[in-house]
Symmetry: D2
Subunit: 370 residues, 4 copies
């Protein structure tokens, strides 16, 4: 899978981020740990120089895991030493905070990459059996109880405010706060469950062209896709799902995961609904919660129909950090919320995650609007 | 070029549109001209049944041109005969109007396809030498005179109305008229000229990664793109452009054409500006013209940064006609305005054209915003 | 199909061959008919200069058919005029003979290309209905009567002579005549018929990996191949074949056509036989005919297990003509005999035709050995 | 590189070979070490069942290296225990010998795979610095001294015997011994050196189409190849070679390695010679050595112009073992001799190695004939 990376690479890359953006600027006399690591562990920052091609990351037998841990320790120590240096501590704190946010993103990516990798292995290994016992969620929880008479939350819209303002941390792509006009709309209180999605599968949803975006229809035919990633049937035809704890019977109560935007959109059309825009999502999520939406955070990233684009008045930071977000603003779609694998403290109502319409290896699910 | 089609196919396909959407519904006793034409000349309507793959259209040596003209005459006569039939004339008139709009789209596509095809031919043939004499424009005109003190038009924005309302004809994707909030912005009064764009090329714009969307950078490297389509240098290194009248010295006064969204976006970043949203474009274009924008229509389609998506409250028509627009609403970008090749009467301020970000064989140009 | 060319191209290319190899050398004061035709109609002679890529030949709307006929007339007249010129008539005669042989090859290729092209067309047109009546064979004839007690011809082999000697015309690849040692072997007197091959298909031959070369097995899976090219089943499941006269019920008596080397080899293994080497074929074909092999010529080209390689002592001609044969001597396999579409007088017992192992659009069949 | 495999896979696969072909047949009550290993470590034996796709071998993070070593120990012990079992010891000995030969092949493949993998790594690691000191050759030795007056060995040929006879071990593809007729020819006493090949590179050999097979020319253009694999220039333009000991100045005395058949053939044409057939090679190699050929074994595998095909009278073994050799007999070319990395005792004068014409990651070199 050309989009996934080995764990060793994630660890080295997040260390590289601190070395490049914190230490190079604020500890300029420090020598690089290894001159080639700048290339090896650069993900996509053309401003930093050459980068090693992503599909070849799996071929890096060197440096060894031990060398990468040594790299990590070196960077950690150097960052810690900045506490006593004569530098602009406020500016450094902002960069360190950004580095930590970046690392939190990779913590989730490691789980999606591991899940994808293990699922390819004919041995079907589980990731770590003791993990759930240790309090680490392996999959999203089932739904809160819902009053069936009230599946939809109605909102009036109007001229609302979107995006992050003030001084608190946020990625540049969530700024500036600005006004947006919304016509009245409804949002589903719950995410689409695996039970809901199975009904779509069993009703032949994948075989009805009129439900699909043209590009999605071609994609599903070419990739021979007829159900979410990590679903399968056992020898008796029973639906199973591959989880980080191995293959399990399909848990119908949980939100559906591992669907592309194409699948989310087709499901919505079948359900006589649509996907929300990211503005509708953010506004609805900001309403007082009693009687409001459930499963906003900690279950699944939620596809929106909004392409990933700059907000009005968006300011791209200068230098290599400016490549962090803005250069991806074409042919990607925004997901809102957060998943069960998102590190605590990382989720925000204004957070804009984004992936191509065909991505399915993330913990991506569906919330309907209409 | 898998996106282009032979002229014979265009003629047959526009006839097929009338046969399928007008005659099948309102002249049900009429037999199809040929039972297989339904497949051969269906472009993308899954609701109508199988379709012939687009990249293979060039292989259709049969039916002959004479047979396609006979098909055309048959359809024309049958449509004309409806005038005296006992049918819902108002509903039929709407379908005929849609068929005519569809045919106007193909009139422009024929020119872009012809230009692309002839440009591949080492003989470098001109399309038709007498054409310009006959009053048919072969390329866009140069700029109106501009007061250099006023290159930008400033607009206040606020809560504006976008889209088509009322009863007049429009494609479904331009409806409904709805409110949209705009922050204050400026629009360039003129399109980017070939002189402007040449400066970008000669300043090494294609070699500076930081100017490019990540996907655009990879696209240009993979396709080895370093200037607009249909530009080239002659043996002495002078810039030339391939036009429908053959190769000509690059006309610096004309608007640049045949650029992808990636190139338009990189140019804008280089010029310390950006592309407008389609909403900014439509609002600016609707302002009274004295002192307003020039080159809105009749020169080049103008890339916007807006992905092609449904308007709030969009209603998709039922049946096969519903496939006309909505199924393409992913990974396409909106172009506004119209080109010198757009048939008279086809251009509108609310018209949403759309193509993938990599498309360059259309008459696509650039208007800046900031 | 990137291997096929339009008819207009064949006509121009065979004219180009005379212009380039006869007229340029022996009528040097003659101006080229068109300077770009040298590129457009060069198939693969790097020694002659640039060439137009084969897959784009179908895009050449210019020159028109009328211009190509004019080109042909120009070349014909100039070659005829050489009769009265003060030149080395013997050398010219050899080149003209080569040009005629080359043109005969293209006469057959035109039929295979036409058949392949028309078979793609959903209208399923026949090539020319009156052709067979005019005495032009559209498909190979059925078998001569065979005495079933004697399906195999046994030959002792030993040290035999292979290849063309003497002064008569032959392509360079058939020379020199040389000695080759053969162990005793048997050759099937008849070609494999469609009846024979259908038994293989219906016995599940395409689904038994152990019958196939590894590369052939992967090829059939990738291309989803489960029967010869131009076979199909009608709505009632009856086997049909697409012929130059359109779709017809499968004629079981005719030799099977349109199989790749992979299929021929798998069939042979299933039939507990093997393909002959080209040396076995040539030796067997040279035996006196009474009681010998039938269907040697005029039915189907016959795959051999011999890769296309130079004979011992092979001399490659100098210059561009040297590119005619030798440069293809890798990853191609030799076919012997000739098909029903081979022009009269073109077939020879020492003739070495060659195609890649995956080629099926030629009139290629199977003769077994063991 | 889809042709290369991780070391862990090689170790497991050679163990699997013994488990499958020795233990399953002769210790039937032994349970498989792990039921899925049959799939995971099957390279290409369709007769054994499903196999794991080669390009995905690098993704197998499980089983761990420790598990693979345990697998190896299990298989070793079970094979050793056969010594005391009541079985056909002669038949088992033949299978064990085959397993050992198979393992020797993988010993060399591990070195070629490691070299290829490390060469991709921007860190340019050496394989193991102490290895050469330990007496393990990292690259072929330079040439024996040659009397320059006698670079070519002349041989009369005639009717000679080729292949392996008798009872000794050999792979099936080297049998049976049979007669072959050779016309008189000459063989170069030495392999082509890096000095020789550099002259070809610097004379522009890669840019002269007339030297190349057509398919080779296209291959070199597509892959942008202009020198052997693992050659490069340093910052000052000096030629270097990547060896298992890291980057080194190009050793001009050593035989050239890592060339494809296409390159070997083009070099030969440039040197006004040709590649030998495998029959010429075997016959020349069998001549008494004083005054004969040097560098036959222990330096580089030597490309021949012979496609890999069955010998007359070849008998393919039944069952899965029959897939070992015969199924690759198309579009592969024979290499003779052996390289410096071939395990001692593995090289034989009748040994037929084979690879596709484009393969370069093996230790493949050139011996000329004429």
């Amino acid at each position: 899978m050309p989009d996934a990376s080995p764990i060793k690479w994630h660890l080295a890359h997040t260390s590289w981020f601190f070395e490049t953006f914190v230490l190079e600027a604020h500890a300029p006399r420090l020598r690089p740990f290894h001159p080639m690591f700048r290339v090896l562990f650069n993900s996509y920052y053309n401003g930093v120089g050459d980068k090693h091609p992503r599909p070849q990351r799996g071929l890096l037998t060197r440096p060894s895991m031990a060398q990468v841990w040594a790299y990590r320790a070196h960077v950690d120590a150097a960052v810690a030493a900045l506490a006593h240096a004569d530098i602009d501590h406020e500016a450094v704190a902002r960069l360190i905070e950004l580095g930590l946010q970046h690392e939190q993103q990779h913590q989730e990516l490691m789980l999606t990459d591991i899940k994808h990798l293990l699922a390819q292995n004919p041995l079907c290994p589980a990731y770590f059996e003791g993990m759930e016992a240790a309090g680490i969620a392996m999959e999203p929880a089932g739904p809160a109880q819902v009053d069936a008479t009230s599946l939809w939350l109605r909102l009036d819209g109007g001229l609302v405010e979107i995006g992050r303002g003030g001084d608190g941390l946020s990625f540049d792509n969530g700024r500036p706060r600005h006004r947006h006009h919304l016509v009245p709309f409804s949002m589903a209180r719950q995410l689409v469950s695996q039970r809901d999605y199975l009904a779509f599968v069993e009703a032949g949803g994948y075989a009805q062209a009129q439900l699909w975006l043209s590009e999605g229809w071609d994609w599903a035919a070419r990739e021979q896709i007829a159900h979410p990633l990590h679903w399968g049937r056992d020898a008796r035809g029973q639906w199973q799902e591959y989880t980080l704890a191995g293959w399990q019977p399909l848990n119908l109560d949980r939100p559906v995961l591992h669907v592309s935007l194409y699948e989310a959109d087709a499901y919505a059309r079948w359900a006589k609904a649509r996907l929300p825009t990211e503005f509708e999502w953010e506004w609805a999520a900001s309403q007082p919660q009693q009687g409001g939406l459930s499963q906003l955070h900690g279950h699944a990233w939620q596809w929106t129909s909004s392409s990933y684009a700059p907000y009005p008045g968006y300011q791209c930071p200068g230098g290599a950090l400016g490549e962090y977000n803005a250069k991806f603003m074409v042919n990607q779609y925004v997901l809102r919320g957060s998943s069960f694998a998102t590190p605590e403290g990382h989720a925000r109502g204004t957070y804009r995650n984004f992936f191509p319409a065909s991505a399915r290896w993330q913990f991506s699910g569906i919330r309907l609007a209409r």
